[in-house]
Symmetry: C2
Subunit: 479 residues, 2 copies
């Protein structure tokens, strides 16, 4: 053991010698080595290593062996989840200890410090969502924290080699390129009124940021609750933390005297125009397609019937759920297919999950949740058929087609749930555009008209928040 830790020990000692008193030397080391069990997560070997090295660094930065756990999405891994593995470190060193754990709750942070688990709180993803997290805690502004939702879209940028994005913080990665400060925004450039139609992530963020700029904003929502897709999706198994996208914005909007919210207001084009706002922005979202068109199937599937046995996620959101045995056909390849499958299992549906990909939720590789997702579905008893497209469904059986050979096979199915692709809900936008376009010369000045978020281009929630924020930033900047 002395010899096994010699290299690390000498590296730390020589670094300290080279640096002297000019700064402290922190060492990151994993609290476990991956050989532990649930009851005994840390091997005797690893504990002994920490004991030998205990007093050498100036700060212990402790992580764990399993990165998919340390970096887990909120669907599977909850706040402060490293504690059970790393909690012994402080008992064997007098040096300060820091760890991570997707901390966003000040209470959880204080609890870990008080109970002697850590001396410092580490926060990477929570700082991406809100770089002013420590300041807001210090100043007692806890309600203003943009809490990380644990979706790992930040990590997907890393996986893909593209600029970082954050679902909660649309300014992330745009501080320099666009000059967007996460907390500050330029004041309004006119006394115009803005009508925002739709309170999903795009509409809420546009409203919040326009309100922050000082504009008079009217937010019209057709349903009786705010949040759009975020509210619907956060009720699905494991996704409750996603509701923070709504909560952060609604909390702030409610304090703004210049913003009015109109729930249960299903505007038509005449209604929208009669309000007399100088700017109208449509954020009416998208709906899931029911024709089979998706990523693998570049055309609608023929022979999908009967309609009463066909479902989309929108049906499941609204409580219309299949009976008996259902095929969940996932041609979306991100989280929705597996979450819908889980929701159906919870309601007693026998689920067969079919995907043209070779993996369940293949895009989840980017957010480091693919392994846990497939594991979870298997453990729930979901039957999984990979590498198959959906050819047809006649109400009692579905015909699948191998993506490698086009060989077909039939499976029994009382229903098919299509999780494939979405299409914009942009009827209102088109109607208003039509009326504005047909306004004759000499008529009243017409409002500006824009569409943002899923009703412009269905995408991830981060893209909708970004679109809402960008609309608010740029309003009046060009005109």
């Amino acid at each position: 053991m002395e010899n096994r830790v010699r290299l690390v020990r000498e590296l730390i000692e020589e670094t300290k010698d080279a640096i002297g008193d000019t700064c402290a030397v922190a060492v990151r080391m994993s609290a476990d080595d991956g050989t532990g069990t649930l009851e005994h997560p840390v091997s005797d070997d690893r504990r002994e290593m920490f004991e030998i090295l205990a007093e050498i660094p100036d700060l212990w930065d402790v992580n764990i062996h399993n990165y998919e756990h340390e970096m887990g999405v909120s669907r599977f891994i909850k706040e402060a989840s490293l504690e059970n593995t790393m909690n012994y470190v402080k008992t064997i060193t007098s040096k300060p200890v820091v760890t991570v754990g997707r901390f966003t709750s000040p209470d959880t942070m204080v609890s870990q410090v008080r109970r002697g688990i850590v001396d410092f709180i580490g926060a990477a993803r929570p700082s991406i969502a809100d770089p002013f997290l420590p300041m807001k805690i210090k100043e007692g502004r806890g309600d203003e924290i943009r809490e990380c939702i644990g979706c790992n879209i930040c990590y997907a940028g890393d996986s893909l080699g593209v600029p970082i994005r954050c679902t909660q913080n649309p300014t992330m990665g745009e501080e320099w390129r666009r000059g967007w400060h996460p907390e500050r925004i330029q004041p309004k450039s006119s006394d115009a009124t803005v009508l925002v139609v739709g309170s999903g992530p795009a509409g809420l963020e546009a409203t919040r940021a326009l309100g922050q700029r000082g504009y008079t904003v009217m937010l019209a929502e057709a349903s009786t609750e705010l949040g759009g897709r975020v509210t619907l999706e956060s009720r699905l198994p494991g996704l409750s933390e996603w509701g923070r996208v709504r909560d952060y914005r609604v909390n702030l909007i409610q304090t703004m005297p210049n913003v009015d919210i109109f729930l249960d207001n299903n505007l038509d084009a005449d209604d929208a125009l009669s309000i007399g706002a100088e700017h109208i922005v449509i954020a009416t979202g998208s709906k899931w397609r029911a024709d089979g068109f998706g990523r693998y199937h570049e055309k609608p599937c023929l022979n999908l019937g009967p309609a009463e046995k066909l479902f989309t996620p929108d049906d499941i959101f609204r409580g219309r759920v299949p009976q008996g045995k259902a095929v969940v056909f996932d041609d979306d390849h991100y989280y929705m297919g597996s979450v819908i499958a889980e929701a159906l299992v919870a309601q007693g549906v026998e689920v067969c999950f079919v995907t043209p990909e070779n993996l369940v939720s293949a895009w989840g590789v980017m957010t480091d949740e693919q392994y846990q997702t497939q594991q979870h579905l298997i453990q729930l008893g979901v039957q999984i058929i990979t590498a198959h497209g959906l050819e047809s469904f006649d109400g009692s059986s579905a015909r699948l087609s191998c993506v490698y050979t086009e060989q077909t096979r039939e499976i029994e199915a009382d229903a098919v749930v299509l999780v494939t692709a979405r299409t914009p809900v942009d009827d209102l936008y088109k109607e208003i555009a039509g009326k504005i376009g047909s306004a004759g010369p000499g008529s009243e000045p017409v409002p500006s008209l824009d569409k943002i978020g899923d009703c412009d281009a269905p995408a991830i929630i981060a893209a909708a928040v970004y679109a809402g924020h960008r609309y608010a930033r740029e309003l009046g900047a060009m005109g």
Copy 2:
């Protein structure tokens, strides 16, 4: 149609206007659009596009829609395979036409030109393997062409974002960094004699390059044929072109008066030392492990028995083949598992292919052959079980374990073929090293001793060729 081609047409026309007479404008366009059938590979639409644009570019650079076909590995796609799809282009344009097709045979090239398929021969991979291909044809040195073997290791560098390597041409990517010219090498720095033990890709390339430098080389091969693993593997289904790694080198070595080849010479350490060479280099290769250790299984599997029902690729190479139903357990994840499965099917074995990966030959994604490999095995009737490790085998059934959940299942099996990992065959190296080390003071001067290729570190063939070349380049450079 006029409108659909307008953008391309105007781009070409405006490029030509901007350039004037200073150079020609070549246009790459796909001969088909992926909607065709085997009988009618080209849609009427695509042909009409070519007809509209026919005379506008100065040169047509024609490829095809399916990149996995255009860029196919030699296992699945043979030389000049684009012809059936692109052969109509020259009938509708008076401009010169070029295409690709992994051309290495001057006869095939001449045939395509004479038959009016193309005016120029395009060659990317063949030029990687031999940048002097055109020159060697011109000078009638066809025997000296280092023919591309179509393994696509060059493309894997692209996929992985690492420097390019070529199985046939070890200087590829090292022209600047190491100053290695593909044809020229510095003359020998002494009159020393070199003993090369083993005539696989490492030993053959070391011999060829040492011979080119002018050294006196003795190449000892234990078996009765040259080529080592390349000879064995090139007999497997689809891999015959890999024999070019041997053929190119043997052709050249046979012309070298300073190189002697000793077949059927299984040297021991005393034999090797008694030859009196100043330098000994061991290239005795590797053997496939029979204990289950591999990429997923980081430890040997317990309970693998009985030995007469266990096989490795080395057994299959040498004609020892299982009877009845065999599990091919692929924990190597590149080509070997699927090639062995195919070889067994050809001999009447019922094959179940098991892999801890989610794909057959998952690493084949890097060389763009994964899809074809999995398709091929399905079409051969091989049963495929992905995402499972091998727990145990008792002679009549194998116990598999799900990589996501560790749930186990039993499958009937009369035999298990382990395609997992290799271990160096370095006994001779160690024996000689021992004798050299124990030579007392005042004894004869001892030879230098090195090991190269798989007997140093089992890897891809390109790495063995590289190691052999590097040994030859560096001999005498330091001393």
